[in-house]
Symmetry: C2
Subunit: 198 residues, 2 copies
């Protein structure tokens, strides 16, 4: 099982944005959409063993389950439309429970702490992808891994502290600093190689 | 130096498409836009040593030079807008020479054969990324590599024959079948590792 948590620091909390301006008025939602693509898509297929958690401004979390999701297409605009629907669904719901939006997509009033709590309770080990850390290529990885990535901005100090409280491993994807979606594609490929070898 | 050639089998040859429907009426232009992103972007930077060739229906080629390109943003829509501009620029130009569209982007009435001819004349070795071939991870790679990928459809028999005429190496990116943009992200990461080690 693989999980990817992506922190959207400027991502919208309500559905009042236009699909025609994802990088601007939708707070770089294009970045999150590309992360969803990189996490879940194979060529003409979906990764059924992957869950994606989009944490929006540490206030809302949209979870996309590879096992259950339907109507997900690879392009940014249609993924953003599914996110918009999830934001419409949560708008008048004030509890902290998960609300189903479209098949395989839920939304809740949870932040990073709650998502980490949920995943670590299921024996996922959080892995923090940073520059200038040990390469994750050669190193041991637990069976259940939850990779945590930030959007186009750096992790905040508070986020880093929280991740270390949850005993996140710090690893690096490579010698350059990559966009989050590229990191996810590389991580998935590395895990595929390991799955094949095991 | 790295080059990526991406074959768009249904990509538009004229600018009469809407940016609101890249996967549909624009012939899966979203796939090509994600490939441009994967080939050229680092986090908050561009790869200056990369050139991308989008070969549209084997009739037009749009070349994006990492060294010279300006106004390129990571999202699909704005990349598609640059492609649209290039298609406007070539519409009334009937020669086979390269026409400059926006800074770092040229367009020409060339197909795969001409692009391969141009690159191999500059000592690039074409590498054909296919499933079920030898993994490119452990193998020797020439200094100048031109990776050739297909969009959401398979290579045609004619394309495969042409690539073998140009002595393309056949290699595989991993044990799964990946979207072209994921392959590019993985290839760039692998080459970064090699550059660091050399």
């Amino acid at each position: 099982m693989r999980a990817f948590i992506i922190l959207g620091h400027k991502a919208p909390l309500n559905p009042d944005f236009t699909l025609n301006d994802l990088p601007g008025s939708a707070g770089r939602l294009d970045v999150l959409c590309r992360c969803v693509n990189a996490a879940l898509f194979l060529s003409h297929d979906l990764r059924r063993d992957v869950e994606v958690f989009l944490v929006l401004q540490d206030q809302l979390t949209i979870c996309i389950s590879g096992q259950h999701v339907k109507r997900l297409n690879p392009d940014e605009r249609s993924t953003a439309a599914l996110i918009k629907k999830a934001l419409e669904r949560i708008q008048h719901h004030h509890g902290s429970d998960d609300v189903r939006s479209t098949p395989g997509i839920t939304v809740s009033r949870k932040g990073l702490k709650q998502v980490l709590g949920y995943l670590t309770a299921q024996r996922f080990v959080p892995i923090l992808l940073l520059e200038n850390e040990r390469s994750f290529r050669g190193c041991f990885l637990p069976e259940r891994v939850a990779f945590v990535l930030s959007d186009h901005t750096d992790f905040s100090e508070t986020e880093l502290e929280l991740l270390l409280e949850f005993e996140a491993l710090k690893l690096s994807v490579g010698p350059q600093i990559y966009p989050a979606s590229h990191c996810i594609a590389v991580v998935n490929n590395e895990l595929d190689h390991r799955d094949q070898a095991s």
